[in-house]
């Protein structure tokens, strides 16, 4: 199987996965949901029936189900998402873009930080294998890995926001005029510090443990012994020889980790009142604002599927066996 065929197959699978999940996403909300028609929730008895009809037609709920399905698919495919189930209905797309930016900013920064910290700690522990330093680093890594993220965040908020009052636990910026871009940026960074620090603290352990175990494995390979024997520096051996050897696996795990990173954003954003898509998702879910929930699920899935696809492409370049067409 050549790389090209492999890639085509993966793209087809990715689209199949998206299609299946989006269909389920549609069925859950439009067919099997306890409340499918938000106009049923309008409690006012004197709410005019023609007004309800107008709302239904605006939301497209008066059309047959298959047509609704097609409209739903079209809306998602064009990234316009339709309108919210609110009165008056709001377009979803503009809010989605700034919320997505909010979410991705903390997720990206914290993920990158935890990967950098984790991988360096892991490499360090593996190179000091069997010593007290190794046990110490490994223990810290295991602690970070085993502690629930939301518990670290609760402790952080309890300690730094409620007891000490150092970091804010609410929002993105303070409600005051900002004197310029730098001022605004610093204010945002100050508010983002809590989520980013806690996500990093909770996240690096996994990478540290994974890298350490892989590295320990790689360091027993013959080519490492060769490199050591020819007198290469320890740094060179660790990073140029050993780390390169395990890069494909590390990349795999990074991408495989994508869904859980995204899922973690829901609780993080709720705890820190960070107006990203995770918080929006919770609010929309509780309020029965189905188009928003569907749109966010779609974005989550899209990011995951695209991540897996990118992984395959990167993997192809990193792993020569795939590039030259050897069956895995």
């Amino acid at each position: 199987m050549t790389f090209k065929r492999h890639l085509i197959k993966r793209i087809a699978t990715a689209f199949l996965a998206l299609f299946v999940a989006l269909t389920i996403n549609f069925l859950i909300f439009r067919v099997f949901a306890p409340v499918q028609d938000p106009t049923d929730l309008i409690a006012a008895p004197d709410f005019p029936e023609e007004e309800k009809e107008r709302l239904r037609s605006m939301w497209g709920l008066d059309k047959p189900l298959y047509e609704q399905y097609l409209i739903y698919m079209y809306n998602l495919a064009t990234w316009q998402y339709g309108v919210t189930f609110e009165t008056p209905p709001q377009p979803i797309a503009p809010e989605m873009s700034w919320r997505l930016a909010n979410s991705l900013s903390i997720l990206l920064v914290s993920t990158v930080l935890s990967i950098i910290i984790g991988i360096s700690l892991g490499v360090f522990a593996a190179s000091k294998r069997g010593t007290k330093l190794d046990v110490f680093t490994t223990s810290i890594g295991l602690f970070s890995w085993g502690t629930p993220t939301f518990f670290i965040q609760i402790l952080f908020i309890l300690l730094f926001s409620y007891y000490l009052g150092i970091f804010p636990a609410v929002g993105v910026v303070e409600a005051r005029p900002h004197s310029g871009f730098l001022d605004l940026f610093l204010d945002v960074a100050y508010h983002a510090a809590g989520p980013i620090i806690t996500l990093t603290v909770a996240g690096f352990g996994f990478w540290a443990m994974y890298t350490r175990n892989l590295m320990v494995d790689v360091l027993t390979e013959d080519y490492i012994m060769t490199a050591e024997a020819k007198g290469a520096k320890e740094r060179t051996v660790l990073f140029s020889h050993a780390f390169r050897g395990m890069l494909p696996q590390v990349v795999t795990v990074i991408v495989n980790h994508f869904p859980s990173i995204l899922a973690g954003s829901v609780i993080t954003e709720m705890l820190f009142s960070w107006p990203g898509i995770g918080l929006w998702y919770l609010e929309a879910l509780i309020a029965g604002n189905h188009p928003v929930t569907q749109a966010i699920t779609y974005n989550y899935m899209f990011l995951v599927v695209v991540g897996f696809l990118l992984l395959d492409i990167v993997y192809g370049f990193l792993d020569p066996r795939i590039r030259v067409g050897v069956r895995r």
Binding site: T13, T138, I154, N213
Partner: protein, 475 residues
């Protein structure tokens, strides 16, 4: 038992012993095992050692009060503990010969009057020492039944004499003879009582009444006022108590409702552990079954299973669980099943590729040549060889399951009928334990989840370094 199986048994025992010898040397592994044993003991015996029941727990102190051992700090030393004073311990101080007082399980007062002027008066008094700072709240409650009441009205009066000798009337109720049972209650938090005791609404009556340490006396006066000749009546007083709610309680303080937090934590252990173990067991079994089938049979079967795996892996599990839980109110077992359904694809991939490589190996070829059926080969040769992989997955899935359930419950999307640590945390957040700075309510369930997960992570780490030969220590 044949000689053959006896031999096999010895080999197995030796294998397990060797394994244990190696495990014992791993310090992280041993601490993980010790932690795990601790949690299992709590899960099994928690309901028996918990000081209070799980359903309809009693109010044991004020809301959000600190643990009792905080009194080692001087500033908390004198904070009140919960005091319960029972009316049945009251002494009869002053009684007119017209009323007879009988002490038994309940206190019975029997009155008989001849003329219109025969007013029957009884005063029951309880002297007690109040040794703490003033409390936040107290409650008095008493229920009574009146029998054979005729031609008299009767009156209850509750008074408190405080440490300075001032007398406070807490309650005054007069009943006609038609009333045959009733309940007297005083709550220091009620608005009417506040109006009665304090000049303005910002003053806490409990602080006014129990302002100082010292000797107090609580009395219950009962007066029979005849309205005609030959009046009579019997009153029985049941379970009357004055409860002064403490500001320190137990090992882990109280929650928003004044319930014991320690009991909640002890009851939560069981389900928190079961969720993890059942989810891990089910998802690992599914992974072994489907991984083996896909790997061994190959072809169309393999293709179909692996495409299903690809699709499931793309589904954002957590958000889907939130939706399902919100729409259909899932119970805990369905949540476990869903978790397993979404998790088996991960390890099934590695198991499949292991089976693929095993299939080509010589010993499988010879087993086939010797006439082993497919099922026999899978059972005897393939499954034992993928057990280490399955075990690694199992040990990883347990903490993952615990965490997932805790996260769901924490957001309020768990099973509302099951008490887990995640739900305890969620309750804490929802009732404002953060702004009350009630760390004794927030930290213990979180720590419990953390250490439960850590115990499995530690055990998994130790197993990994034993089973995986390349991770073994170089000698």
């Amino acid at each position: 038992m044949s000689i053959f199986s006896e031999e096999k048994r010895i080999i197995y025992v030796r294998k397990i012993k060797g394994f244990w010898d190696e495990y014992r040397r791993n310090r992280i592994g041993i601490s993980g095992l010790a932690l795990l044993a601790f949690f299992v003991i709590i899960a099994v015996f928690g309901p028996y050692i918990a000081p209070y029941p799980a359903t309809r727990p009693p109010i044991v102190a004020s809301k959000f009060v600190m643990p009792e051992w905080m009194s080692i700090f001087p500033q908390y030393e004198d904070l009140p503990r919960t005091m319960e004073l029972s009316v049945s311990k009251m002494e009869t101080v002053q009684t007119s010969p017209l009323v007879q007082v009988f002490y038994g399980e309940n206190i019975t007062l029997s009155y008989k009057g001849k003329t219109l002027g025969d007013v029957g008066v009884v005063q029951l008094t309880l002297n007690f020492t109040y040794p703490y700072k003033s409390p936040n709240e107290f409650k008095f409650s008493l229920s009574y039944t009146a029998e054979n009441i005729s031609k008299t009205i009767y009156n209850f009066k509750v008074t408190l004499i405080d440490a300075n000798g001032a007398e406070w009337e807490l309650l005054d109720r007069t009943n006609t003879m038609n009333v045959t049972f009733g309940r007297l209650t005083i709550s220091s938090t009620s608005a009417s009582f506040r109006r009665k005791i304090a000049a303005n609404m910002t003053v806490n009556p409990a602080k006014v009444l129990f302002a100082n340490k010292g000797n107090y006396s609580l009395s219950l006066g009962i007066t029979f006022q005849p309205i005609s000749e030959n009046a009579q009546g019997t009153i029985t007083i049941k379970d009357g108590t004055l409860t002064i709610y403490g500001s320190l309680h137990g090992v882990l303080g109280t929650d928003f409702f004044g319930h014991d937090v320690l009991s909640k934590i002890l009851y939560g252990a069981q389900m928190s552990i079961i969720v993890g173990i059942l989810t891990a067991a089910l998802s690992t079994s599914l992974a072994v079954v489907f991984g083996t089938i896909a790997g061994y049979f190959g072809g169309m079967v393999d293709e179909v299973i692996m495409r299903i795996v690809d699709v499931i892996l793309c589904v954002p599990l957590f958000v889907i669980l939130l939706v399902l839980s919100h729409n259909y109110e899932l119970n805990i077992y369905i949540i476990m099943f869903l978790l397993s359904f979404f998790w088996w694809p991960g390890p099934s991939r590695t198991i499949r590729s292991k089976i693929l490589s095993l299939k080509e190996s010589a010993f499988i070829e010879s087993a086939k040549a010797a006439g082993g059926t497919k099922f026999y080969i899978i059972r005897r040769h393939l499954i034992p060889n993928i057990l280490p992989l399955a075990m690694a997955a199992l040990v990883l899935f347990v903490p993952a399951g615990i965490l997932m359930e805790a996260s769901l419950s924490f957001l309020g999307f768990g099973d509302p009928n099951v008490l887990t640590w995640g739900r305890t945390l969620s309750d804490a957040r929802a009732t404002g334990a953060f702004s009350a700075l009630a760390w004794w309510y927030v930290v213990p369930p979180g720590l419990a989840i953390t250490f439960l997960c850590l115990s499995f992570v530690f055990v998994g780490h130790a197993l990994d370094s034993i089973v995986n030969p390349r991770l073994r220590r170089r000698k």
